[in-house]
Symmetry: C2
Subunit: 232 residues, 2 copies
């Protein structure tokens, strides 16, 4: 692991406050690996052997049933994934594959659970992280059950937008078909949803999206802290 990477990981809220010796104990048994794109990292149902820490690239978490598949989340550096399975020593509920070339630190689950027992600061951080993740999924459920697909897209755009003088812009950070799946719709429907949002000043050019009239779109999307603000 490169020193800058270690510093980045150490700065994560999950590891920030913990004692140095705990951090060392945790990362002593760590593997760092580089993966090519489209590699299946974990498979749902498999036992959970490692806590994963992203340090480069991007990873898609997805789930399947009966031949269907849906994107649950995309993970980017620097962050961890599959904390809950690690803690409970339970099988993965989701699969993960690299989207692009990715660099990932693998922490043996047993080490995580050991350090958890030994370091109360780490324990507290894990609880905070888990509670945050839980609340994130609850918000996602509200989003899915209370909104139409067009409303979900509109709120997504508002959430990931970059503010600008002459209106706001969005760089779609994933392929449209993946975004569609994440938002719970088909690629065809996403395409049409973008068309509908043209009526609210949304202009699409490949992965570039312009929001020409933020008020109009906001008025339509009705974003709300308890659904769309992932910091609360």
């Amino acid at each position: 692991m490169k020193p800058t990477e270690e510093a980045d990981i150490r700065a994560l809220s999950l590891f920030k406050g913990m004692a140095d010796e705990s951090f060392e104990a945790l990362f002593r048994g760590a593997y760092v690996q580089n993966f090519p794109p489209m590699i299946e990292l974990i498979t749902e149902g498999d036992p959970c052997d490692f806590l994963h820490v992203m340090v480069g690239g991007s990873v898609e978490l997805y789930a399947s049933w009966n031949g269907r598949e849906t994107t649950m989340a995309t993970v980017r550096p620097v962050s961890t994934f599959i904390l809950a399975a690690t803690i409970r020593d339970a099988p993965y509920l989701m699969s993960a594959r690299t989207i692009e070339k990715s660099r990932i630190v693998l922490l043996p689950s047993t080490d995580v659970r050991e350090v958890f027992s030994a370091d109360p600061v780490f324990a507290r951080a894990i609880v905070d992280e888990l509670a945050k993740c839980y609340r994130g999924v609850i918000k996602n459920t509200k989003n899915l059950k209370l909104r139409t697909s067009i409303e979900r897209l509109a709120n997504y755009l508002l959430r990931v937008r970059n503010f600008g003088e002459d209106g706001d812009t969005v760089h779609l950070s994933m392929e449209k078909r993946r975004l569609a799946s994440y938002l719970g719709m088909t690629p065809e429907n996403l395409s049409r949803a973008f068309k509908t949002l043209q009526g609210y000043g949304v202009e699409v050019d490949g992965a570039r999206v312009r929001i020409n009239n933020v008020d109009d779109l906001t008025n339509f999307a009705k974003p709300e802290v308890l659904i769309d603000d992932f910091t609360v």
Copy 2:
């Protein structure tokens, strides 16, 4: 609080292993209250002052947005709700109302957080509980995104059924309109979904449901551990 109630609460996985003095410290500031039906206990967005422990009755957790409303869960004794908000000292993401006359123990959030810091066994139990809740919500998301409403109903029936010699039966433990909302559909559609499942041997008579051909229904529903088994 009645002694039998205290024993029931003590037996919850969340409180089972903790030291007696921690348990006492936690329940010293507790209120026990009886609520009539249809009382709004908590409102989404409000600050979280208490961890709630159900000891009698039943409570609906629901969420609203833009005039729409959806049932997120129903809680029954003996169990807790809104642990994540308590831990993070964050606003409620869901509202709660009593469905029937209910008896609830209210633990001040500050006490929960204090005892959490003092008792590592309790801390560990909270982490376990949170991880379990998190995984429950993930399963729910998979259910919503990967299945049609009829498939969700079929799997719900299989999950809550009581096994019997001459086929299995289900007692619907909530009104159909609430079940519909929980499953992400309208009451009208639930009614029609039941009709569709007649073709797979499902017979409905009020809140009583008979599953005449378990194999047929299972074959259609394709239940799966990683979605439908809430113990894993």
